[in-house]
């Protein structure tokens, strides 16, 4: 095959609406476009003129599956402006909430979205008959993520209890202990999941792109840090300076913005693979062993290995959350009651690691706490340019190997899904 135009309209098994367009001419890949057609909703404009009280509630609705991350990111920005110091307990609860969304997201992405590609199915539903054990265990894992989010946040998505300075509600000590047991009981299946995804045949692609993730010495941070790092050059900066380091830009073929690293003008990836490339050393013991066994070590440059990275993160999240639950069962619940604060004018950026990658919210408030300006930088908006460049690289190599058009379509879709794009987040 030396000549073809691929148009995958409405890529299935991703969250949101997007198309991918690849043109091959004379054996060369001429064009690759991620065409994001998700309806625009204008969140940055919606929160303008509204009180700081409403912002995290509204921002949560950027995306169902990433809702916990958007809430915590927004709360962090507001707390930076007001100078609210959080208790250790509140930080632990936020960690649990975000990890709950990791289990939900990685469970749904790996099994409902990605696995059918490698199992030769169009959806996960036939797997309920062909491999009932896998189907049931996979759903249980995702279900545990929902349970964790519900226990901590009050429901499985769009958390209710997380507010400025603390939490409005907590579960009982016994419920924390029961959760810890459940989380630990899923570790064996999570380890099998790493093996399963590591066993799938994937294209050999070595990306030229950089990686960005939240970092903290000795930790694998998902929300506790305000420092971002470009892994390639080991360059770190505070979240408040994010727009000095990355630039968002518009392209005609996408309703989502694209992003590049400003100093190099190059695309970069955020997400599980970026986090593992940045903080491999700080994975939990079982997760680190699983990663090593799967040959997943930094620098891992194949974006298709993001699936394995997510599976490793499931092991990591289960171990970490079980420990957090046991600690929370011991402590004093009064510690998480929302702390008082004084409203003041200011600007700050909140940043967290959402399941799909780094998310940043910049807020400017006036002295009454009314939003003057807001900017939301989502994981997928940051990943789109990297996705296009990796698809181009992979397609170039596949065309040279003489694959059929159908095979090329399949591999392009696998690449898009491996990035775990959240298109509803990307256009917000």
């Amino acid at each position: 095959m030396t000549q073809c135009t691929i148009d995958v309209d409405h890529i299935a098994r991703v969250e949101g609406h997007g198309n991918v367009h690849v043109v091959v001419e004379g054996g060369q890949v001429k064009d690759v476009e991620m065409n994001i057609v998700e309806p625009i909703r204008l969140f940055e404009s919606m929160v303008r003129g509204r009180s700081y009280r409403d912002v995290s509630y509204i921002a949560s609705r950027v995306c169902g599956i990433c809702s916990a991350s958007h809430v915590v990111t927004d709360l962090k920005a507001i707390e930076r402006i007001f100078g609210v110091e959080l208790s250790q307990r509140t930080k632990m609860l936020r960690e649990l909430l975000i990890y709950g969304s990791y289990l939900q997201n990685h469970g749904a992405h790996l099994f409902v979205f990605a696995a059918p590609d490698y199992l030769g199915e169009t959806s996960i539903f036939p797997v309920s008959k062909s491999n009932p054990e896998l189907f049931s265990q996979a759903l249980d894992l995702k279900s545990l993520g929902n349970e964790l989010c519900t226990m901590v946040g009050g429901r499985s998505i769009h958390p209710i209890t997380a507010v400025i300075g603390g939490f409005t509600h907590e579960i009982s000590s016994q419920e924390y202990l029961d959760l810890a047991d459940k989380l630990e009981s899923k570790v064996p299946f999570a380890l099998e999941t790493v093996d399963l995804f590591n066993g799938f045949d994937i294209c050999d692609v070595a990306s030229d792109n950089d990686y960005m993730a939240l970092t903290q010495p000795g930790a694998y941070p998902v929300q506790a840090s305000d420092t971002l790092t470009f892994v390639g050059s080991d360059e770190s900066f505070d979240a408040n300076d994010i727009t000095d380091h990355i630039s968002e830009y518009q392209v005609g073929h996408s309703a989502a913005f694209f992003a590049r690293r400003t100093s190099t003008d190059r695309p970069y990836m955020t997400g599980a693979l970026a986090r593992i490339n940045a903080s491999w050393e700080n994975l939990t013991p079982k997760a680190k062993v699983a990663a090593a066994k799967a040959g997943l070590r930094p620098p891992e440059r194949n974006p298709l290995r993001n699936n394995v990275a997510q599976a490793v993160e499931i092991v990591d999240a289960l171990e970490r959350c079980a420990e957090l639950c046991r600690e929370l069962a011991e402590g004093d619940q009064k510690e998480s009651l929302p702390r008082p604060f004084k409203v003041c004018a200011g600007s700050a950026t909140g940043v967290t690691e959402a399941p799909r990658g780094t998310v940043a919210h910049q807020l400017v408030l006036d002295d009454k706490g009314v939003v003057q300006h807001a900017s939301i930088i989502t994981p997928t908006a940051q990943n789109l340019a990297a996705m296009e460049s990796d698809i181009r690289k992979m397609a170039t190599s596949l065309v040279a190997q003489g694959v059929t058009e159908d095979e090329l379509v399949m591999d392009v879709e696998k690449m898009v899904r491996a990035y775990d794009p959240c298109l509803s987040c990307s256009v917000h």
């Binding site: 299935a12 098994r13 969250e15 949101g16 609406h17 065409n35 994001i36 057609v37 998700e38 309806p39 625009i40 909703r41 204008l42 940055e44 404009s45 919606m46 303008r48 509204r50 009180s51 409403d54 509630y57 509204i58 609705r61 950027v62 995306c63 169902g64 599956i65 809702s67 939900q104 749904a108 409902v112 169009t122 959806s123 996960i124 539903f125 036939p126 309920s128 008959k129 759903l139 249980d140 995702k142 279900s143 929902n146 009050g154 499985s156 998505i157 769009h158 209710i160 209890t161 507010v163 409005t168 509600h169 518009q250 392209v251 005609g252 073929h253 996408s254 309703a255 509803s424 256009v427």
Partner: protein, 272 residues
């Protein structure tokens, strides 16, 4: 007649050989959270799917949109001309239309942008990309087409979805309750959040969630939409009695009801 049990559908859970209602699920402008809520009760999902012939659900399967179906489930607000055309087409084909979630039912959070829409577009985009389609000021689905069944709230609750899906499949004509959330909260024996100085919208918001947010110490933000039984003036006088801001109450109500005419009585008079 086509034999639906020889299914090529995405749902191949084994069933007795009788035609099952053909269902499609469509997502418009939304966070996809309500579709997720359907998948989020894993243990019951296959039981529910076992009773329908799921013909189209882009979030979970690569099967294309079929030409005919019985029940259409719509999530999301209508924010483009393309979506207006799509929901009209769906209405023409479906025997029953179910709207799920705040975005579809009240225009929800996307509806906030309906206030001064054109200016808002330029606040975010220098040039609106062609990929955004022909954008229009956000509308709820019932503002564009007749809707037969609704599942309210942001996000929906799985149990309510199953209940309403059952009603749609078996053509229930049960009268929908219109009471407000406040009474449900009282039955939960919770202390009123107004005593803590919090502006709660439970007095005017449709019931159905079991007063979940107030039960967890968070005020109601009105995601189920204003109830047909709501007495807004009376509610405002209560807000005042607690020494809280009526303006803030009204502002808060806009969050999920921006496109609801009851919040803009003057505009109505002008039109009349």
């Amino acid at each position: 007649m086509r034999n639906y049990c020889n299914n090529t559908s995405v749902n191949s859970v084994e069933r007795a050989c009788k035609p099952m209602p053909r269902v499609i699920v469509i997502g418009l402008a939304s966070c996809f959270g309500c579709q997720l809520q359907i998948t989020n009760r894993e243990r019951y999902l296959t039981d529910v799917l076992g009773q329908i012939d799921l013909r189209y659900w882009r979030m979970t399967s690569s099967e294309p949109l079929p030409e005919s179906y019985d029940v259409a489930v719509i999530e999301g607000a209508v924010t483009t001309q393309e979506s207006v055309d799509l929901v009209k087409d769906v209405r023409a084909h479906a025997k029953a239309v179910i709207t799920i979630g705040a975005c579809a039912n009240t225009a929800g959070i996307p509806g906030i942008a309906a206030d001064n829409f054109d200016e808002r577009v330029s606040q975010v985009y220098q040039d609106l990309p062609a990929a955004a389609g022909h954008v229009i000021s956000p509308r709820s689905v019932p503002d564009v087409i007749d809707v037969d069944f609704q599942v309210l709230c942001c996000p929906i609750e799985f149990d309510r979805f199953v209940e309403v899906l059952g009603e749609a499949l078996y053509e229930s004509n049960r009268v929908k309750p219109t009471r407000t959330l406040c009474g449900d909260c009282k039955r939960n024996e919770r202390t009123c959040l107004y005593n803590q100085g919090k502006i709660c919208l439970g007095m005017v918001t449709s019931a159905g969630c079991g007063a979940r947010c107030p039960s967890l110490g968070r005020e109601c933000n009105g995601c189920a939409g204003i109830s047909p039984d709501a007495n807004l003036d009376s509610a405002r006088s209560i807000v005042e009695r607690y020494g809280l801001s009526v303006d803030e109450f009204d502002r808060k109500l806009e969050m999920f009801n921006q496109t609801n005419d009851v919040l803009h009585p003057q505009d109505e008079n002008q039109e009349a």
